[in-house]
Symmetry: C2
Subunit: 401 residues, 2 copies
């Protein structure tokens, strides 16, 4: 049985590195972006289209899939890879983020899937055993424990899986953060025990570093994960209230981690975040940003095409719903290698969005995914060539210092 | 400048024929199905996906495009082919069907695009000059006359275009039908005059046969179109109140038409309709059926996979929303050459529909389009081989005599 492996070469830019994660379903060249197939589908795309964008690896959410259609059904159907027609590396999360964020109401839009739906709080109880919650599909009760999260992810058949941790809201005190972090460590022990009970040696299990904004807690959490036989490490918990604070925490945390394991930054993946994360030694990122903004008409562009560059609130994308694109014959990005930019104009995409034509979402999602996959390729190339800092400065939009 | 041409070989089955329409954007082997890109998009698909289904020719609706984004804008963008990335033969209708059906309220669902929207009657006035209607987008007034319909279709840049006719409701008397038909003939004269004023010789103009359910009126209308320099003929107007009456009218009308011109059956394209239509000499069909049912979970299947075959109300498709597909590991049709059937199970598609994932529509639309394109290919092959009647009997679901 082949095991997951990770190798890397240190780059000359700060803590950045150029690596390679090998999984039972193929290789991920790092730094890599992990695209979100939240409910077992990349929203408006077929998996054939996803492969054509250059995506190396995708992530599905345990929380959604355990509720509908259920991990047992997916296992019966031959696993999530076969079910959704994805034959590459697959990452699943623990399910915790959605359950706790629903409970705390902080990132409920993550769950809604649509802005129109009303979301009820579904987290019923959190104990040492785990979390009890109500299904948003049929109201039935579920328990997510460290053990059920692992067995569910193994039933789904993911290559890279994550321990369950307690996701705490941003406003928690230092004491509460420490208590929650230590519970997450106890849960991680139970996750490792459950993982070892299965024939799962070919999968890679990620431990999570908690500790919020307190350096000594991050240190304690890093010491914990370094001492356990995890395949990889994921940075979780509160990353503060600003981009600069997030970068400080990531910078601080990555230097504490055992360098022989891949490091994933959970749920973060804006373009500036990626350049900063790579600099600090992050190997993989996941974020709904490129696929979510596509469904609202947002098309990622390089800085030289970005009208918001240097303004007070620069964004990394154009809003194709804006009337200024009505007559714009240009593709989103003339330099982009995607099939959308080869085929249609901004004018057409603007029209499709206005007319509520579903193909708009497919066209823009294809562009955004290809754009991100190409950007990560350029980043890897720059790390190989020793030109990463130069590339990063070209992509700086002026949001952060 | 190359002209549209039509050649055919008579088959041995009744009035059926195997033909070929050549247009400035390529060839259509007939009998052919014309897929509806109503608003300049095949709903959930990119045009790259449309091409991969084997679709030869698509149809867009003048009514929708003249309102949004406007034919002038599309002309500025290089024409509808370039605008929507379709480089094959393109058919446009006159815009009349939508305007009149909205006015009469008979097929308003055609216009709605969604079942949720409330549609106001927008037809304001019909005179000898033409029809005045209100835009469903911004309420502004438009006039559709024989002349503006032609110029709009030429601005869009379609290869095959249609004269404006008055579309009458089903309940009209013989006298009213005759009066309306004669107005449509006068409008066709004006359409021909307008067409000849443009450098449009490379496009093919279709005249429409009206006359409702009255054979002598169908004869009068066929005599009219045969006597005018149309490239092709389209059968329009009321086709009665039952499938059998429709087939009688089509059978009666096709024998009246000059055999050297392609014959299109407007808006009809169920599988049984196609077999009957081909038998009576119809060369092309257009219908939203395969793409519309896809968005409601309907997947076309051959009779041997059809659970409704032989029942009181047989349909040509499976409803993948039905709970019986929850655990169904089969593809929609194991014999189907489409990328959907090669990739995913009925169980996955059932799940995607339940989860409101947009990719469901793409997957099922790809299947239905490939299914129809393949069926038309089999029909053409059977006509070549003299086995059409045998093929037709295999596909008989028992709906009609």
């Amino acid at each position: 049985m082949s095991l997951c492996t990770f190798t890397y070469t240190k780059s000359d830019s700060y803590r950045s590195r150029r690596g390679r994660i090998t999984t039972p379903h193929g290789v991920v060249e790092t730094p890599a972006f992990i695209f979100c197939a939240t409910k077992g589908s990349l929203k408006s795309l077929t998996m054939e289209q996803v492969r054509a964008t250059g995506a190396q690896i995708i992530l599905s959410n345990t929380y959604h899939l355990m509720i509908n259609p259920g991990s047992k059904l997916i296992e019966t159907m031959g696993g999530l890879h076969k079910f959704m027609d994805w034959n590459g590396p697959l990452f699943t999360d623990s399910g915790g983020f959605q359950i706790f964020s629903l409970g705390h109401g902080s990132v409920s839009s993550e769950i809604k899937g649509s802005r129109q739906q009303v979301v009820k709080k579904t987290l019923l109880k959190v104990t040492e055993e785990g979390a009890t919650f109500r299904s948003y599909v049929d109201g039935s009760h579920y328990c997510l424990s460290p053990e059920t999260s692992i067995t569910t992810q193994l039933e789904l058949g993911a290559d890279l899986i994550v321990v369950l941790d307690e996701c705490t809201p941003f406003h928690l005190s230092e004491l509460e953060t420490a208590q929650s972090m230590r519970r997450s460590h106890r849960w991680a022990d139970r996750s490792l025990a459950e993982f070892s009970r299965h024939e799962a040696q070919s999968r890679g299990l990620y431990g999570i570093i908690q500790g919020g904004i307190w350096p000594h807690l991050r240190t304690e959490s890093a010491d914990y994960v370094n001492g356990q036989p995890f395949f990889g490490h994921a940075i979780g918990g509160s990353l503060g209230s600003s981009k600069n604070q997030m970068y400080e925490i990531v910078d601080y945390t990555t230097q504490l981690l055992s360098p022989d394991r891949p490091v994933h930054l959970l749920g973060i993946g804006g373009i500036e975040d990626i350049f900063c994360g790579v600099k600090y030694g992050i190997d993989t990122f996941d974020c709904v940003h490129p696929t979510r903004i596509a469904r609202h008409g947002g098309a990622l562009v390089p800085p030289e095409l970005n009208p918001s560059k240097g303004t007070a609130s620069p964004r990394d994308h154009l809003n194709l719903r804006n009337a200024c694109y009505t007559n714009d014959q240009m593709p989103i990005d003339p330099e982009c290698p995607c099939t959308t930019c080869a085929a249609v104009s901004r004018s057409y995409l603007h029209y499709l969005l206005k007319a509520n034509e579903l193909s708009a979402f497919s066209y823009i999602t294809i562009h955004n995914m290809t754009f991100m996959a190409s950007l990560m390729k350029r980043i890897r190339h720059a790390l190989d060539e020793g030109t990463f800092d130069e590339l990063a400065s070209q992509w700086h939009l002026g949001t952060t210092s």
